[in-house]
């Protein structure tokens, strides 16, 4: 039984890792960032490039991927998203466009392939990342042998979630972010530089997606459009958990992960996925604002 729960926990932690960044950008800024999955993809490609060009392993790639995707997220906010606040459908379309641009940029090796230059690690093909020996096989915890890599992913998820919580709830910037989540106009009236905080929030959310990308690269092959299905999962979790609520996102990721794990073990993965979608639909029908949402004033 423990191993089934562990599988669920692992699935939940992957979901949480992906949706954490989304919970912040979508939750706090009301921006449906369709390019979130591409941030995950860029994080994964950062791991590939670190391995090929720097000889660095997965551990080193985590901070690098965070910085790279945060910087790209910051640029996207400054150049595009900033001009579209309050226009939900426009941001949706604009970020979708960015998503396609990013996919093609990787596929065409940032345009270099037109000049016959091939960058090892980019291009339309599948990439795979070597997993450090330390994370292969199992690790004994008490009497049970747990999957090392999955344990590591759970650990990384715990750390990033905790860090996000501390930043949001125990730092001056975090307080400003929370104020903006509740009411951006009132926050601005109180002297908070909403524009600056929004850029930082967007960059931070993108950086978290980058970390998720590094973690995904140990599980699966990496290719330019890997991000799309991942982002769909992220949206499910955020919508079910309730906008702007970190604890809601954590709970809903854990819940959907466990449901997925239990049903997949009892029947198969295809049915499990259908059940997860069904549960999310039920939640939205019964509680349109998600499981844990703020009472608006």
């Amino acid at each position: 039984m423990i191993d089934i729960l562990f599988i669920g926990l692992s699935l939940g932690s992957i979901l949480l890792l992906v949706s954490l960044g989304l919970a912040i950008t979508y939750g706090s800024m009301g921006v449906i960032n369709m390019a979130h999955g591409e941030m995950v993809m860029l994080g994964a490609y950062t791991t590939v490039l670190c391995g090929k060009w720097l000889g660095a392993n997965l551990f080193v790639a985590i901070p690098i991927a965070f910085l790279v995707t945060a910087a790209i997220g910051f640029a996207i906010e400054r150049v595009v998203v900033r001009r579209l606040y309050g226009r939900l459908l426009d941001t949706l379309l604009a970020t979708w466009g960015i998503a396609i641009l990013l996919q093609q940029a990787v596929r065409l090796e940032f345009g270099l392939s037109f000049f016959g230059i091939h960058v090892d690690g980019l291009g339309p093909g599948l990439q795979n990342v070597a997993v450090p020996t330390l994370l292969q096989g199992t690790v004994a915890v008490g009497a049970v042998a747990l999957n090392s890599y999955r344990s590591f992913v759970i650990l990384v998820t715990l750390v990033t979630t905790l860090a996000t919580w501390i930043i949001l709830n125990r730092s001056p910037v975090g307080m400003q972010v929370r104020a903006i989540i509740r009411n951006p106009h009132m926050a601005a009236a109180c002297g908070i530089d909403v524009k600056r905080i929004n850029s930082l929030t967007f960059a931070f959310g993108s950086g978290l997606a980058g970390i998720a990308g590094v973690m995904m690269s140990g599980f699966k092959s990496i290719f330019p459009d890997m991000g799309t299905p991942i982002a769909v999962d992220g949206f499910l979790v955020v919508v079910a958990g309730g906008l702007g609520s970190l604890s809601g996102t954590v709970m809903s990721a854990g819940m959907l992960g466990e449901i997925n794990g239990l049903i997949a073990t009892a029947t198969n993965d295809t049915i499990a996925r259908a059940v997860v979608f069904g549960v999310v639909i039920l939640i939205i029908l019964l509680k349109p604002k998600g499981l844990f949402s703020f009472k608006g004033r």
């Binding site: 191993d3 089934i4 599988i7 692992s10 699935l11 339309p124 093909g125 599948l126 795979n128 070597a130 997993v131 292969q136 096989g137 199992t138 042998a145 999957n147 090392s148 890599y149 999955r150 140990g218 599980f219 699966k220 092959s221 290719f223 794990g261 997949a264 073990t265 198969n268 993965d269 295809t270 499990a272």
Partner: protein, 415 residues
């Protein structure tokens, strides 16, 4: 060129002369080249694999041209892009056959793309040379199948697993589409005929990469061997999860029918070391012909680390079978090639191959390879000779009772 009245008159006269002598015209242009098509995905998700196959075809053609071509004429390849989409495959096949008037196309990789182009080849009577190992259940007069069919991958494999490895309980796992399901059908017959049993027959969506629940199921099933018909990049996440859940290839080996040198290189050899695959060709086959083939392919693709594998070898040798058929027939019409290719033999990099006179599939020599820590296989078992392809073995076809003959499929035997 300056056109003055004299030169204009001259060229006009020459043109008129040429037009009035059409026989002269035809022989002049026909002496140029023989055109063939290469229809593989150059773009899209499948392009990585299919570009390799296209390269193998191009390499064979360039070797043929270097040694004088076919019937004294050079071979020209018209490359079309199937774009990883069966519909595009069908359109491009029509283009090659109707517009370019080509009678032979080398191409397709997935069964989906082959099924999409098949009606066009049959209606327009052109020949398709198809190199990928596939599920069988096809008997077309317009396709030469140079890859393995289930009986050539499983016929020796299952008995060997039961007798030599001493395994009694199989867990069959695959990607959810026609090839793995047909392979499972053949496997179950063979498993039961050899006195073993199967405890699971499970499928995951094509391209699925989350294997935790499935691998746990395998662990709990009490099986002592896994028969894998998983395809594509799912293979990589499967083998990784297998090791990461503490399963050992020594006690519970994965015996695969699709996992090739390509996937092993992608996942990291340590995950697959000790597992098995059944294929007629392995890169590790230690013959001068194969060494030469690998060396030439690496040179041709300008990639010193390129790997060769079953479909790649078949894509290469099928071009030579075509050449021999054309030379025997003396012309390039589909009917002539079909008649001449029956019974053609060729010394391929992996050994002798032969096109069956009945069903146009290749006789291949089944081999079992065990993957080593260096990402290469050690051939642990091989048939002494190539064996007859039986595309309907899942439905009871045997060498004595053929369903697919030169006359076509005997559908009455299918029930």
């Amino acid at each position: 060129m300056i056109v003055n009245r004299r030169s204009l008159l001259k060229t006009t006269a020459a043109t008129v002369a040429a037009c009035t002598a059409p026989s002269l015209w035809r022989s002049a242009s026909a002496a140029d080249t023989i055109k063939v098509g290469a229809l593989y995905s150059q773009t899209g998700g499948l392009s990585i694999v299919e570009k390799l196959l296209a390269n193998a075809v191009m390499m064979a053609v360039s070797e043929i041209n270097a040694t004088g071509g076919v019937l004294g004429r050079q071979v020209e390849v018209i490359i079309e892009d199937g774009a990883s989409d069966p519909k595009t495959f069908a359109e491009k096949a029509s283009k090659l056959i109707i517009e370019d008037r080509i009678s032979t196309v080398f191409g397709c990789h997935t069964s989906a793309s082959r099924k999409a182009v098949l009606p066009i080849f049959e209606r327009r009577n052109a020949m398709l040379f198809y190199q990928t190992h596939y599920e069988g259940f096809e008997c077309s007069r317009n396709v030469v199948y140079s890859g393995a069919v289930p009986n050539q991958q499983l016929g020796n494999y299952i008995p060997w697993i039961v007798k030599t490895l001493g395994k009694k309980k199989f867990f069959i796992v695959g990607s959810d589409y026609v090839y793995p399901r047909e392979m499972a059908k053949v496997s179950k017959k063979l498993i039961e005929a050899n006195g073993a049993q199967w405890t699971g027959d499970e499928y995951l969506e094509l391209g699925h990469s989350e294997w935790a629940a499935m691998v746990r199921k395998i662990k709990e099933s009490g099986a002592d061997v896994v028969l894998s018909n998983v395809v594509g990049d799912s293979i990589i996440s499967f083998y990784r999860e297998f090791k990461n859940q503490g399963l050992s290839q020594q006690t519970l080996p994965i015996c695969a029918t699709v996992t090739s040198e390509v996937e092993i290189a992608a996942m990291g050899a340590e995950y697959a070391a000790g597992s098995y695959t059944s294929f007629p060709y392995f890169m590790s086959i230690d013959t001068p012909a194969n060494k030469k083939f690998i060396e030439n392919f690496r040179k041709f693709t300008n990639d010193p680390k390129a790997v060769t594998y079953h479909s790649l070898e078949a894509a290469y040798f099928q071009v030579f079978l075509w050449k021999q058929a054309v030379e025997k027939a003396g012309n390039i019409s589909a009917d002539a090639i079909r008649a001449a290719v029956r019974g053609q033999t060729y010394d391929a990099p992996g050994g002798k191959v032969l096109i069956d006179a009945d069903n146009l599939h290749a006789w291949l020599k089944p081999r079992i390879g065990q993957w080593q820590a260096d990402g290469q296989s050690k051939v642990v078992d091989a048939y002494p000779e190539p064996i007859k392809p039986l595309p309907y073995s899942a439905y009871g076809e045997t060498a004595e009772n053929l369903y697919c003959t030169a006359k076509g499929l005997d559908a009455t035997k299918l029930n």
